[in-house]
């Protein structure tokens, strides 16, 4: 069954201290060519029936994202593309 993936990211103007902390740690791995890191959240939704993008958008707008500080996108993926299916 295809799933709906919701990607939630902090708006560009909102400071992401977690991302900054990760970016600051990269030189310790010998990585020196990363300009910035932003951390978001990926949510996979499986509907009982057919996947419903509009319904997923409504869920994202009301609960999964806070529109004051975050943007979100929704898209469909096949079951074998979802994170849980990866080995």
């Amino acid at each position: 069954m295809p799933r709906v993936v919701v990607d939630v990211m902090l708006k560009p103007e909102i400071l992401d201290p977690q991302g900054q902390a990760v970016a600051n740690a990269l030189p310790r791995l010998g990585v020196s060519d990363v300009a910035s890191v932003r951390i978001g959240r990926r949510i996979e939704i499986e509907f009982t029936g057919e996947p419903d993008l509009d319904r997923a958008r409504e869920i994202a707008d009301k609960l999964l994202a806070n529109p004051v500080i975050e943007d979100f996108t929704v898209h469909l993926v096949d079951a074998d593309e979802t994170a849980g299916a990866h080995s």
């Binding site: 909102i14 400071l15 201290p17 609960l63 999964l64 806070n66 500080i69």
Partner: protein, 185 residues
Amino acid sequence: MDAVVLPGGFSYGDYLRCGAIARFAPVMETVVEAARGGMPVLGICNGFQILCEAHLLPGALTRNQHLHFRNRDQVLRIETTGTAWTNTFQSGQEVLVPVKNGEGCYVADAATLDRLEAEGRVVARYVGGNPNGSQRDIAAITNEAGNVVGIMPHPEHAVEALTGPSLDGLGFFTSVLKHLVGAPA
């Protein structure tokens, strides 16, 4: 029900975002309705986060800029006495109450911040160091009517000498009593 205090804590494990799931707790429907009708509501710490998520207050609380949990006694300046929760303070009065949060950084867009300032809705600001990076040193705000207040520090932990750094927090609670006694029936 005369007034409601939404206390601090980590409701629903802070999953998703602080306060995001608590906002949909069954009791919140009643709280939101009563708050819109003028009932005094004070949200402290996690309670402040819930009030923002419930859209009773503008803006949002995000991860402390330095990423550390901050736990210390904090000086605040009371900026507005025209709320149900601050009417017994003097404008500009400095108070000492504990602050203890990991996600207390208040953010809102510039237009919202300007409106809060212009309408006198910044209730308290951090003085002597901003513990979490909150924009414009904001520690507490109120809604347009002044009955709903969200505050990140903990006035309820500054109400007796044995357990708090001062008795300054009592003012929030004597204020709501005064507000309720003086309120028309």
